[in-house]
């Protein structure tokens, strides 16, 4: 129940997950602005990746996966666009032509049958072995986030030690830039 003298929430919409591509000036503090916007206004961040993409133009591309009701998603896009160093905000989910990939490094420790099974599954998932010794492997796996979830899940009982994920990088299909 509403326990303040402010109005209670009145529009009930189902949350959706959207992947946003944000082109920003690569200047100090720009990531803090974006992250601060999300925390300050109570938006969700499910994944966030950032890297300089155009060195000459000093531009970076931030990919954000977020969840919210359609009204909140619209707010997020408008609020991002309002930040002074933001050039463009594109909702790749709305374009319906989003290609999204993640990379993960997964460390698995084991002997005997479990070790063989882990290798077999890695092969099936097209994970590469990037470090190996008699006791453990580190696999490198690229793919959609749920594929990585699945692989990590399978490694659980086979001796999963730890793993690291990059978060989602995304781009639109077809010949055109966003």
């Amino acid at each position: 129940m509403n326990t303040s003298h402010y109005p209670s929430q009145h529009i009930f919409q189902t949350p959706e997950t959207h992947t946003l591509s944000v082109i920003v000036d690569n200047e100090p503090g720009v990531l803090a602005r974006v992250v601060g916007l999300f925390s300050g206004r109570g938006y969700n961040i499910e994944s966030l990746t950032v890297s300089e993409t155009e060195h000459e133009a000093h531009l970076s591309r931030i990919t954000i996966v977020t969840t919210g009701t359609p009204m909140v998603i619209e707010q997020i896009k408008n609020q991002l666009a309002r930040l002074v160093p933001v050039h463009r905000v594109v909702d790749l989910t709305v374009t319906g032509r989003v290609l999204a990939r993640e990379l993960a490094l997964i460390k698995v420790k084991g002997k005997g049958e479990a070790r063989v099974e882990a290798l077999r599954l890695a092969d099936a998932f097209r994970a590469r072995v990037v470090d190996a010794n008699t006791e453990s492997f580190v696999f490198e796996l690229t793919g959609k986030s749920d594929k990585i979830d699945e692989f990590v899940g399978l490694m659980g009982p086979l001796g999963l030690v730890e793993y690291s994920r990059t978060g989602v990088a995304a781009i639109s299909r077809g010949p055109d830039a966003m």
């Binding site: 509403n2 326990t3 209670s8 009145h10 000036d25 803090a32 619209e74 666009a81 160093p85």
Partner: protein
């Protein structure tokens, strides 16, 4: 023209080139080079405040009453942190400010140096944008960009944090010509299709209302003029938010007064029953909408705003126009004249009939008294006695602010300076200092509460120093009245910490500062006392002793809709009007 100079000199050169005439500030170790540059010039007047919060509010008052960008200069660490309330206030109310903060030398940043703080980190969420300048080469560009960002699009405060070594460094200064931000391009012109659609909707409405806000004031005097033309052309009723007062003349018959929590019955009922709301430069703030699921249930909504993020934030609208109010209204008026929509006169007449019935309820009525000054009466007298003057009003926050909004009639924009979004007690005195700096010959009055006024009272000293004859008109009810009111209505009359205990003698206080003190507690003596205040060439503190028990009505109580207002003459029933659930809502 490019010249070699130090960073500190660049700051002053850029302020001059940007047309800054007054700089509100307070010195300290990390801005000494800039203060040295101030010492060596005569174009910019520096106003030494008594607290950095005061500097920012003064700059707000200056900006709001002139339409120019306000300028502030403070030192690092405590100077910057003291400015934070003012910056947040300016952000909430979209006031253009450039605030320059000193910073410890670049090689000491991050080392917890003396008076170091993460100014850009602290002010990131309370500015429109901010910069830490690490290289002298970037300084001139950033200085000019800062003014551009502060004043264009939806205006707001910006901070430029300048380390002391950058102030000492020498570089090439470039003027503001051709300075363009790399990315920042706010949309000024509205989309013509949307404008045509809006005009069509306006023409077809049966129960329309204009709902206007601070965006009209920010857009400049032309916007107010165009708004008047459009409202006249349609013959429709108009209401305004707290921030928008003065954009449309309060005297005019089509004006229904302020809307919202303490708005008039006619304004709120007209919103509630309307079939079309034309929102111009307002943002459906929660003090306006009340209960959201019951907000204007039958109305279609048109929303004109320069900030796309204000649209569909709280209320879904049917026609959104992103652009500057003046530009959009100009296009709207042109389309209106071209298409000459046929208004349903009969429907409009019936609509005005309803509105007149609400007006007849006289929602602002209060019980007068011969013995004790009613606060509403004090404002009414203040208005009557100052309306012939060239008057500017600032306020503090509380009941007195709402009574000022209800009873003081503003007919022009830029005459009303109040803290709306943040509701900052202590805004009024420094804001009055800023307004009086901009309008030395005008009558500048801070309508104040005895509690608020003590938050920034030290700026009285500033007023005395610069011979600014501001008038601090205190509605002294011996309570944090607005808090007391909520406690009376919603917390069983348990007045927890809301009594103004141990108040100073305001008359003596005024005298101690070198100003003039006036006290009045009798209705029969009020006019003469106000006249004495108006005639006084010095800063005045007017201690107007008013009824301590008066409440501010009408009021939309917690959890209620626009058509569920409380009135002053129904005070006895309040307990029963607000149910248990409503009491929970505070």
């Amino acid at each position: 023209m490019s010249r070699q100079m130090t960073g500190a000199e660049m700051v002053i050169a850029a302020l001059q080139d940007q047309g800054v005439e007054v700089l509100f500030g307070y010195p300290g170790g990390s801005v000494l080079p800039i203060y040295d540059a101030i010492f060596k010039q005569e174009k910019i007047r520096h106003v030494l405040v008594r607290h950095e919060q005061g500097a920012v509010h003064a700059a707000e008052g200056y900006a709001r009453s002139t339409g120019k960008v306000g300028a502030v200069l403070v030192t690092s660490g405590p100077g910057a942190t003291n400015a934070v309330t003012g910056l947040t206030d300016a952000l909430m109310d979209s006031i253009p400010l450039v605030c320059i903060t000193g910073q410890v030398p670049t090689h000491l940043i991050g080392q917890d140096a003396f008076q170091e703080c993460d100014t850009v980190g602290i002010t990131r969420p309370c500015t429109k944008h901010n910069w830490l300048v690490k290289r002298i080469e970037d300084l001139p560009r950033i200085l000019h960009e800062a003014f551009l960002v502060a004043k264009s699009g939806r205006p707001g405060p910006v901070v430029i944090d300048i380390p002391k070594d950058v102030q000492f460094a020498t570089g090439t200064y470039v003027g503001p010509k051709n300075i363009q931000h790399k990315t920042y391009r706010p949309k000024i012109k509205g989309d013509m299709d949307a404008i045509r659609k809006a005009v069509e909707m306006i023409g077809k409405a049966h129960r329309p209302i204009f709902y206007t806000g601070g965006g009209v004031i920010n857009s400049g005097p032309a916007a107010s003029q165009l708004l008047r033309e459009l409202v006249k052309a349609t013959g429709y009723p108009i209401t305004s938010t707290l921030m928008g007062l003065g954009a449309y003349p309060a005297k005019d018959d089509q004006f229904l007064g302020m809307l919202g929590m303490h708005g008039t019955l006619e304004a709120n009922m007209a919103m509630h029953e309307s079939d079309l709301i034309i929102c111009v430069g307002a943002r459906f703030d929660d003090r306006i909408t009340g209960r959201l699921d019951a907000f204007a249930p039958h109305a279609k909504k048109i929303h004109i705003d320069i900030d796309p993020s204000s649209i569909n934030k709280i209320i879904k609208v049917d026609c959104a126009i992103v652009g500057d109010v003046a530009h959009v209204l100009e296009d709207m008026l042109r389309v209106w004249k071209q298409t000459q929509p046929e208004i349903d006169k009969k429907a409009l007449k019936a609509w005005w009939g309803k509105i007149e019935a609400w007006k007849a309820r006289k929602c602002l009525a209060y019980k007068g008294s011969d013995e004790i000054i009613k606060p509403q009466y004090a404002i009414q007298r203040l208005y009557e006695m100052t309306k012939k003057h060239d008057t500017y009003i600032t306020t503090e926050v509380g009941q007195h602010q709402m009574w000022a909004a209800q009873f003081f009639k503003f007919d022009e924009p830029n005459r009303w300076m109040t803290s709306g979004g943040l509701g900052t007690m202590g805004y009024g005195i420094p804001a009055a200092v800023g307004v009086q700096m901009a309008h030395p010959k005008s009558l500048v009055i801070d309508i104040a509460g005895e509690a608020s006024v003590l938050m920034t009272m030290q700026e009285m000293s500033t007023a005395v120093q610069y011979r600014l004859p501001i008038k601090i008109f205190i509605l002294n009810n011996h309570y944090m009245g607005m808090v007391r009111q909520w406690q009376e209505l919603l917390h069983g009359g348990r007045y927890s910490e809301s009594y103004s205990e141990a108040l100073p003698d305001f008359v003596k206080l005024a005298e101690a500062f070198g100003g003039v003190g006036i006290r009045c507690d009798k209705p029969s003596e009020l006019d003469a006392a106000i006249q004495q205040m108006i005639d006084c060439p010095k800063p005045v503190i007017f201690d107007c002793i008013v009824d301590p028990a008066e409440n501010c009505f009408p009021m939309i109580p917690s959890g209620k809709a626009h058509n569920e207002m409380l009135f002053g003459d129904a005070v006895e029933d309040i307990g029963s009007v607000i149910d248990e659930k409503g009491k929970m809502l505070v």
